[in-house]
């Protein structure tokens, strides 16, 4: 009896050690490539550093500058305008990337035969790099020689005037992003219990009713995951406006990430860039927590 007890203890300890060992590689990478940079970024936000010379501790100066409490307010204005542009992108692109892939996934799920073909077709853009996507759409959007305007005999200034520049970015980003979320939805859809759907159909529920009352509630967790990931990736928008519109016209599509990038790598103000990314991170966390709370509110009932 006693022997088996100690053996149990030993196996338990061994289990703990071995499970820890499985985590070690991840932990090492996490510490090296996430935790240390994060701590450095947090500290650099209170410093001045041009990337080459000595790092100087300047306290809250970067933040004062970004809130317009120092200087002329020009850098503060440019930064908050860029944050607003990012928020605009998030506010419109996130719903698009939640609803459109869901609709596509539903159609593909229903359509048994051609389903695989459409799944491939819709997923294809997701495997392209942002530069490729932008080059493809650049030839579509060009005002005077572009494919879209020629096809429809229009003269729409897709990339040079607002609101078209934003519309172009939304079209491109949606085309690019549908595939990834669609796959997640398809996985969720195949997990919706068939018997529930059959029971609903027997009770006389139409397709719309069973979508609202059975399918969507059953896919709640997939949807929360998609919402979180899409919101975070929309906040990080960079490549599309950088390549397609270069932040124009009149800096109207200059997003926060571009401002941060240019501050660090064009302007060599790494401390200020860290302060900017910290502020953006705070906004992102606030956004994510709020939307998570709203989504999971029903779960507590």
């Amino acid at each position: 009896m006693k022997a088996s007890m100690s053996e149990k203890h030993r196996t338990k300890a061994l289990d703990e050690v071995s499970s820890f060992l499985f985590v070690v590689p991840y932990l090492v990478f996490f510490i090296a490539f996430a935790l240390i940079p994060l701590v450095l970024c947090l500290t650099l936000a209170f410093c001045q550093w041009d990337g080459a010379n000595e790092i100087e501790w300047i306290g809250l100066q970067n933040f004062k500058l970004l809130f317009g409490a120092l200087g002329t307010g020009q850098i503060a204005k440019e930064f908050w305008e860029a944050i607003l542009h990012t928020l605009l992108f998030v506010a419109i692109e996130t719903p698009l990337l939640i609803i459109l892939p869901f609709a596509v996934a539903l159609l593909i799920h229903k359509c048994k035969r051609a389903g695989n073909f459409f799944m491939g077709a819709f997923y294809f853009p997701s495997i392209l790099s942002v530069a490729t996507v932008c080059i493809i759409w650049y030839f579509m959007f060009d005002t005077n020689a572009g494919i879209l305007n020629n096809l429809f005999g229009q003269n729409i200034p897709w990339l040079t005037q607002q609101p078209y520049a934003w519309i172009s970015l939304f079209i491109l980003s949606s085309w690019w992003g549908i595939g990834g979320n669609m796959v997640l939805y398809l996985a969720g859809l195949s997990n919706v219990p068939k018997d529930c759907l059959e029971a609903a159909a027997l009770d006389g529920a139409g397709p719309w009713r069973s979508l609202i009352s059975i399918t969507i509630p059953c896919m709640r967790h997939t949807m929360i995951y998609v919402l979180m990931m899409t919101t975070l990736s929309s906040f990080n928008v960079f490549g599309q406006p950088e390549i397609l519109t270069a932040g124009g016209p009149d800096s109207s599509t200059t997003v926060a990430m571009m401002e941060i990038y240019n501050t660090a790598f064009g302007g060599s103000k790494f401390g200020r860039a860290c302060a900017m990314s910290l502020l953006l991170a705070i906004i992102m966390v606030a956004f994510t927590i709020t939307s998570y709370r709203l989504q999971t509110k029903g779960d507590e009932l």
Binding site: G51, D142, T143, A246, P249, D250, F265
Partner: protein
């Protein structure tokens, strides 16, 4: 005290990866410190186009000639990456470059970061003086009385034209003639325009800067305040805007690259760009048979001709070029580039070295002559100011805002000047 400790910890943390990686190499920190043997020099540049292939050829010829003594290892990357990596690799003697090519517009910013080695003795080493070089390019390397860079080339903007749409006799030499020709050639029914003026940040700002100089204005004044919103500047921008909205020789809303697309589709007579396009168009080999020709920009040549241009400069890095022996190896390479600068001409660049420009071989390259004429009269702007590049970019936004019809020329330029001067104040914090 606290500040000092935090700074030290941070510096240590940021340098740790560099040191760790150097340690992995198991070699001496800087092999070039040895007294004898082959010196390896890293040469960084942003010549990622066809010019880069030719630079590679020059380098490999050099390596062959100096085998056993000096070996150049080239690293090509886009310019923005180059300037970022310059600062971040500065302390890593196994990866940091020795020789870096850069635009004269970025030079003062890099000097301000204290990355460059003063090279005041280079002209004596090469046995050259100002009279051997295009003056603007020669002087661009001197900041506050110290020479930090040595000129490689000048790359002005010139006027490409479609020979199917215009004959050589009809080419304009002044902007007034340019408007007349454009009006005459624009045929809206056929969808053909005189010149598509891009409204996005692009070559338009270089054209604007050239007209500004031709009008007698300047980009910055003696105290480095932006003054491109002068009457000369407003007139220059109004002129470009009128091409779109008054004379209608350009379509509206030409995006970045839209001018090139229309030109290649035979839908615009003129197209402005730098000499690097000569190879893209195959003009150096097929000058007579190509349907594309090139001429100087209006107002850029002749007695009072002037235009805005850029110049590639060669610099040495302070942290890696630490001994006389390494410095001399760098100078040897720069001398080789000077002596063989005709090779660089074939890359579609105007060498800054005058004896090359006067050589028979160079004069036989027809396609480069319009650029050469322009380069001899070019000005490079007040690039000894560390924020010139940023000021020039604010100016670009103004040009784009006026041409897209968002603001009048005066509003756009006033906004840019105000934003830039405020930005300079803020950026000093």
């Amino acid at each position: 005290m606290m500040k000092k400790i935090v700074s030290m910890i941070l510096s240590a943390a940021l340098l740790a990866p560099c040191i760790a990686f150097s340690a992995c190499n198991n070699g001496p920190v800087d092999p070039n410190q040895e007294e004898e043997g082959e010196i390896t020099l890293r040469f960084w540049n942003g010549f990622t186009g066809m010019d880069g292939d030719l630079m590679d050829r020059i380098v490999s010829d050099f390596n062959e000639e100096y085998a056993g003594e000096i070996r150049i290892v080239t690293d090509k990357m886009d310019w923005d990456t180059l300037f970022t990596k310059l600062t971040t690799t500065k302390s890593n003697l196994n990866t940091a470059p020795h020789i870096v090519a850069m635009s004269n517009q970025r030079l003062a910013g890099v000097v301000d970061q204290e990355l460059l080695l003063p090279i005041d003795d280079l002209p004596d080493y090469l046995g050259v003086s100002e009279s051997d070089y295009i003056a603007a390019a020669w002087n661009a390397g001197v900041i506050d009385g110290t020479r930090y860079s040595f000129p490689l080339d000048v790359h002005p903007t010139a006027m490409f034209y479609n020979k199917d749409l215009i004959s050589e006799e009809e080419l304009p030499e002044t902007w007034e003639e340019f408007v007349e020709v454009c009006v005459a050639k624009t045929d809206l029914d056929a969808g053909v325009y005189g010149f598509a003026v891009p409204s996005m940040y692009s070559i338009t700002k270089d054209i604007f800067a050239s007209i500004l100089l031709q009008n007698g204005g300047s980009i910055l004044d003696d105290e480095n305040k932006a003054v491109y919103n002068s009457q000369e500047g407003i007139d220059a921008l109004q002129f470009l805007t009128d091409l779109v909205y008054t004379q209608k020789v350009s379509p509206e809303n030409v995006g970045a690259g839209g001018d090139y697309t229309l030109f290649m589709a035979d839908r615009s007579v003129f197209y402005f760009d730098g000499p690097w396009l000569l190879n893209t168009f195959g003009l150096i080999e097929n000058w007579d048979t190509s349907k594309i020709g090139v001429a100087p920009m209006p107002g850029a040549t002749g007695e009072n001709g002037v235009s805005f241009s850029g110049s590639h400069q060669l610099t040495l890095m302070k942290n890696t070029v630490t001994s006389e022996r390494v410095k001399e190896a760098c100078y040897t390479f720069i001398q080789y580039l000077q002596v063989n600068s005709i090779e660089w001409a074939y890359a579609g660049q105007v060498p800054a070295y005058l004896p090359t420009l006067e050589s028979e071989e160079y004069l036989a390259i027809d396609a480069l002559q319009p650029f050469t004429e322009t380069a001899l009269k070019a000005r490079l702007g007040e690039t000894d100011y560390k924020y010139f590049y940023e000021g020039y970019n604010y100016m670009g936004v103004a040009v784009s805002n006026a041409i897209s019809g968002k603001y009048t020329a005066k509003e756009a330029l006033d906004n840019a000047v105000r934003s830039f001067s405020n930005w300079v104040i803020d950026n000093e914090y």
